[in-house]
Structure formats: C-alpha cells, structure tokens
C-alpha cells in the first residue's frame, strides 16, 4: 500500500479563499451530483490547480466549502497519489516504471534525467524547476518509455536526443509547444 507523508504542519498557504469565479465553478461542480460530498475530488483538483499543492490550510478551505469534516477531506486527499500533499518543482516529471515501460527502457530514461538534471528520484533541482518521481502505469504502454509532466504525456523517449529535447524545452522560460499527446502521431503510422 502506498504511504505518503501528510501535509507539513509548518508550511502552508495561510488564510485562503476562493475567487468569485471559482465559487461559481464549485457551485456547478456540486450540481452534477446528488450529494454535495461527491464534489470533493473536483474541488480538490481545482484547489490544486490554483494553490499549487494541498496544504492543511487548503484542505480546511475545501472542507468548509463542502461542509465536510476536515478529516474526511484529508483522508481523500491522502488516498490518491495525484493530489500533492507537498510542494514540488514547476515541472513535475513522473516517469512510468511499470512492466511495459520497463521492457521498453524506463530505467534508461530515469538515468538520463538524473544525470542531466543532477538530481535523484524524489528530489527537486536547486532552481525549483524540476522534481523527478517514479510512478506506476500511466496507460501509455505501447509508447514507452514515457513520462507525464504536469498534465501532458511525453512518449517514445527512447534515446538521449529525444529526452534532452523535452527537458531543454521545459527548462526554457518559454517552452515551445511539443507534440502531444503522441497518440495523434504514432497510432496512425500503424494504419492497417
């Protein structure tokens, strides 16, 4: 069972609140379900997008918004791996290392990223730009090795040139838009 550290008690967002637009968006989320508590995951996503990560302050705000015990919101937030209970670098590099990607060379991808950025898995670069993590299957098994950066998939990272291109693009202040998701490209090369 995956275990995650709780949000730190000495670090947080202070007194937080929603903007008017966000409050309206939350009302829309609540309206999709027969019970208010079902909106907890969409609201946590909204909170994470806005505040960057889910500190105890943010979790309390979500609890108050949905009239839920803070302990329930904490228990939900800690169950799911994609809810960030700790701050991370600007670009969170999540490399899949499950079987299909492993067979395709996931360890090579991880080694290259570690060497290029000078960090180990679990660490963040000194400039705060990159955090590197290993993750389990991301459902892109035919295009491994691959990683998720934020919400984007970068696939078929088979050699250093391909890996470096992605990292360099992300490191520049104006990352050019890279081809993504690869689906558009590589499926169709295999038209029967």
């Amino acid at each position: 069972m995956a275990t995650f550290p709780l949000p730190p008690t000495d670090q947080g967002h202070g007194d937080v609140s929603w903007t008017e637009a966000q409050s309206a968006e939350i009302e829309g989320m609540i309206a999709r379900y027969p019970e208010k508590r079902a909106a907890v995951m969409p609201v946590l996503w909204l909170a994470q997008d806005h505040f960057g990560w889910l500190s105890l302050d943010v979790l309390r705000l979500v609890a108050k918004t949905l009239e839920l015990p803070p302990s329930h919101v904490l228990s939900v937030a800690t169950f799911y791996t994609m809810f960030k209970k700790q701050p991370t670098g600007t670009h969170l590099l999540q490399v899949c290392h499950t079987l299909s990607c492993d067979l395709a060379g996931a360890e090579g991808l991880i080694t290259r990223i570690q060497n290029k950025l000078g960090i180990k898995v679990g660490e963040t670069t000194a400039d705060g730009k990159f955090t590197l993590q290993r993750v389990e299957c991301l459902a892109a098994c035919g295009s491994g090795p691959m990683m998720q950066v934020g919400t984007d998939y970068y696939e078929l990272l088979k050699d250093d040139t391909a890996i470096d291109a992605v990292l360099d693009a992300l490191a520049s202040d104006n990352p050019p838009s890279l081809p993504r998701p690869e689906m558009d490209q590589w499926t169709y090369t295999r038209k029967s």
């Binding site: 069972m1 995956a2 275990t3 999709r32 379900y33 027969p34 019970e35 508590r37 079902a38 909106a39 907890v40 995951m41 969409p42 946590l44 996503w45 228990s75 939900v76 169950f79 799911y80 791996t81 994609m82 809810f83 290392h97 499950t98 079987l99 299909s100 492993d102 067979l103 395709a104 898995v121 679990g122 290993r134 993750v135 389990e136 299957c137 991301l138 459902a139 892109a140 098994c141 035919g142 295009s143 491994g144 998720q148 919400t151 984007d152 998939y153 993504r180 998701p181 689906m183 590589w186 499926t187 169709y188 295999r190 038209k191 029967s192």
Partner: protein, 442 residues
C-alpha cells in the same frame, strides 16, 4: 479470416474524428435515432443476443448486466445511474484512451442508448486522473452533442432526457474496480465494497447502477445499427465481435489494434504486432493485462485470441486485452518483481491478506533479485499467493496472486537459478538488504 475488422476504430484515421461534424458525416448518431424508436427492453435483448461481453476485464455479458436493473415498481422511486469506467489502469492496457481521444462521440452515442435501455437520466464517465487532456476532449464532445439536441432534455424529440458528466480520478489503480470506482465517485476513498449487493441493485448513492467499460459502451451503436447477427459476423460463437488489443513489450509495432476475436495468437504476434525484433525468440506473453496468468511461448503459439481459447490453452484470461509480449532477453524474476511492486503500491489497504501479503510477496521477490534467498522463499511466495487469492473483498488480491502463481509454475527454473546462484555466492550469514525495509514503491 481477415486480421483487421474496424467497428470501434472505424473513423480513427479520419481527420477531426473527434468532432461532431465528422462523426455525423460518418454515420454516428443514426443508431441513436433507431434506438429511440425501439422499446428499452428490445435494446437490452439485442445487446444480450449480440454476445457482447464486458471489455474492461471481467468479460461479463453486457446485456445480462443491464437486465439486472430492477423494474420501476421495485426501485421505490430511486433513480438509475450509468457509469462509464474510463479509469483504464490495468498495466498493459491503453485502448480506452484511444477510444475517447479519437472517437468520443461513439462512446457518447453508446452511453445514450444504454441509458435509454436502463431508464437512466444522469450518467457519469469516470476517467483516471492522468487523462485530463482526454477529459477536455470528451467534455467538448458532450457540449457539442448537447448543442445539437443529442443530449439534455427531450433528445431528438423522443421525450427522453439524459445528462452526462465527466468525473476525474486522481491516481489509484483500485478505482478501476467497479465498487471502488463508485466509492470514489461518491467522494470517498476509492475502496471496494462487498458484493452482493451488486451495483445493478445498489450502486452509486445506493441506487441501481450499471458500470460499463468505455469499449463495451462504444460497441453498442454498431450492435443497434447492424443487429445482434451483424455483430456476430465477427469473432467466434462464444466470443463474438471485435476487440481492441493494446500491444506492448518486445514487438516491432506496438499499438492499439482492433481484431475479430478468435484469430490465432501467432498471427497476432507475427502479423498484427509486426513480430519480435530481429534475432529474438518469444519467451512469454501476458495476454490480458498484468493481472492475468502469464503464458509460455508454446501456449501462445497454440492459443487463439478469444475468451475460451486463452483459458483452455494458456490457463489465463483475455481480460482487458493488454497484450504484453516478452522475448528471450526478459528476466522473468525481474519482470514479476516489477509487477509485484505495482500491486504492493496499489493495494487499497482495506483487507489484511492483500495489504500485508502483497507487500510481503514484493519484498521476497526483491530478495530474489538481490540474490539473497533460499529455496524456502519460493514456498513462502506460493503460500502467500494462495492465501491472498479469493480471500479479499475485491478481485485485487487474486490479481496480485495470479502472476506469482503462474510465473512460479511456468518459469520455475529461472527462479531456481537465482537460488542456486545465491547458494554458491553466499557462505556468510545473509545481510539485510536495504530494500527489505522499504514500504512499497519508492
């Protein structure tokens, strides 16, 4: 038999296939018009007769599942929900992502027809958290359908109403299990519940609920258009229709392929997947996603790609169609350890045999990989697997146990080689390797 049949992937290579205009120009939503003129029970009957089986992994007949929804007189005013399982989290499986990305309207049309058949007016699509770009595309398709009067109130003037909402998970394999998925939808931790009651009787918010996989629902429009007999033109008597296989591993052309059920696994590997890399030979195949038992090369060469043959010849399951091919360079001990790390990480923690046992199996396998092991470790592994299988609330325990049982049975010599190596290299007392004290994955 033709190796490629396009039912679900029919318009995937048309430019703009995800837009309503292109979808309609290719015949989408004509089945819906036809369905809305039929009686709901007739639709369920047609789907039952087509032999369509759940494509998410369990392979349960879709039409029969729908028929379990209690009639209005037995529901006590409770609504019925339809939930599309788009959690797609089984390692080796990535077909639903393609279905939704390339043809979201086929799924939406299938959902409207299914909802009409089971008297449902609010439906959800539960996507895994990593699929946010896919969710955006599905949401856009839902909006388009709404604007065109295909969703919302009084669909196509039939008097039938339906809303579809997407719901995003946040990273938990277990949410692909239907009762866990429903827990997650309700705003809880994604933990499975005991069955019975089955979701068809008591599901989301304790109301009758049908949970179907993306691929299952996407096949419905075709069945309505061509009839059960039309769908049965593909596949075998017991396994009718086409199936999307997500192919990965040591093959020349990884990808998602739609084939009629029943083609030989030999053709699947050599022709559809483009064969193995030059100079390599086949060692093993995992035919239906990481949870199913592994098959040897010999079994693979004698099996067909249908539910019955894979079970009969390979003692395995077609599952979700996550087809992982491994060649002679594969270290089977390392491959199994990789899978068990996954299961150790993903156990929801609810049942003791699974929570404790799967992590334990992973740690024993780590010892084998590190060469710090004795033969009794293999017995421990089997003992654990046998005591986890079927002793948990959901099927996750069995999913973690089956790879262990099958790898040990079919590739025992590779495990024994590790033990022999360890016996010759280790005269001194065994040190405690670093990884042993790790909890789950890094």
């Amino acid at each position: 038999m033709d190796l490629h049949q396009k039912v679900l992937s029919r318009i995937w290579d048309v430019d703009g296939s995800h837009t309503l205009d292109v979808a309609r120009a290719n015949g989408h939503y004509q089945s819906l018009e036809k369905a809305l003129k039929m009686q709901p029970a007739e639709i369920t009957e047609e789907v039952t007769n087509s032999g369509l089986r759940g494509r998410g992994g369990a392979g349960f007949p879709a039409g029969r599942k729908w028929s379990f929804i209690p009639g209005p007189e037995k529901r006590g005013g409770k609504p019925v929900y339809l939930v599309c399982n788009a959690d797609e989290s089984e390692p080796g499986t990535y077909k639903d992502r393609f279905c939704m990305w390339n043809d979201p309207h086929m799924l939406i049309e299938g959902m409207i027809i299914a909802a009409y058949a089971i008297d449902c007016h609010v439906a959800y699509i539960y996507l895994r958290g990593e699929f946010r770009p896919v969710q955006a595309r599905v949401d856009a398709a839902i909006e388009e359908a709404k604007a065109a009067g295909l969703l919302g109130k009084n669909i196509l003037g039939s008097g039938f109403d339906l809303e579809i909402h997407t719901h995003l998970g946040a990273g938990a394999y277990i949410c692909g299990e239907e009762t866990a998925l429903l827990s997650s939808l309700e705003g809880e931790r994604g933990q499975p519940k005991l069955k019975p009651p089955f979701p068809a009787v008591e599901g989301a918010w304790r109301c009758p609920t049908i949970v179907n996989n993306v691929e299952t629902l996407s096949a419905v429009p075709y069945i309505i258009e061509k009839g059960a007999a039309g769908y049965r033109e593909f596949g075998t008597e017991q396994s009718p229709g086409t199936k999307l296989f997500s192919c990965s591993g040591h093959i020349n052309n990884p990808g998602v392929y739609e084939v009629p059920l029943g083609i030989t696994m030999k053709d699947m590997i050599e022709k559809v997947c483009g064969g193995l890399p030059e100079g390599r030979t086949l060692k093993a195949v995992i035919p239906g996603g990481s949870s199913v038992p592994v098959m040897t090369a010999e079994e693979a060469m004698n099996a067909n790609m249908d539910y019955e043959s894979i079970q009969e010849v390979g003692g395995s399951y077609l599952g979700s169609g996550g087809f992982i091919v491994m060649d002679d360079t594969t270290d089977m001990v390392a491959a199994l350890t990789n899978l068990l790390r996954f299961y150790a990480h993903e156990s929801c923690g609810q049942c003791t045999p699974c929570r404790e046992g799967v992590g334990w199996m992973y740690r024993v396998l780590q010892r084998l990989c590190d060469g710090v092991c004795t033969e009794s470790d293999l017995e421990t592994l089997l003992d654990l697997a046998n005591n986890i299988h079927s002793r948990t609330i959901c099927f996750f325990g069995a999913s973690a146990a089956m790879p262990v049982q099958s790898f040990l049975a079919k590739f025992r010599d590779e495990f024994m080689a590790r033990i022999d190596e360890a016996a010759t290299s280790l005269a001194a007392p065994l040190p405690v390797p670093e990884g042993v004290l790790d909890q789950g994955a890094p």
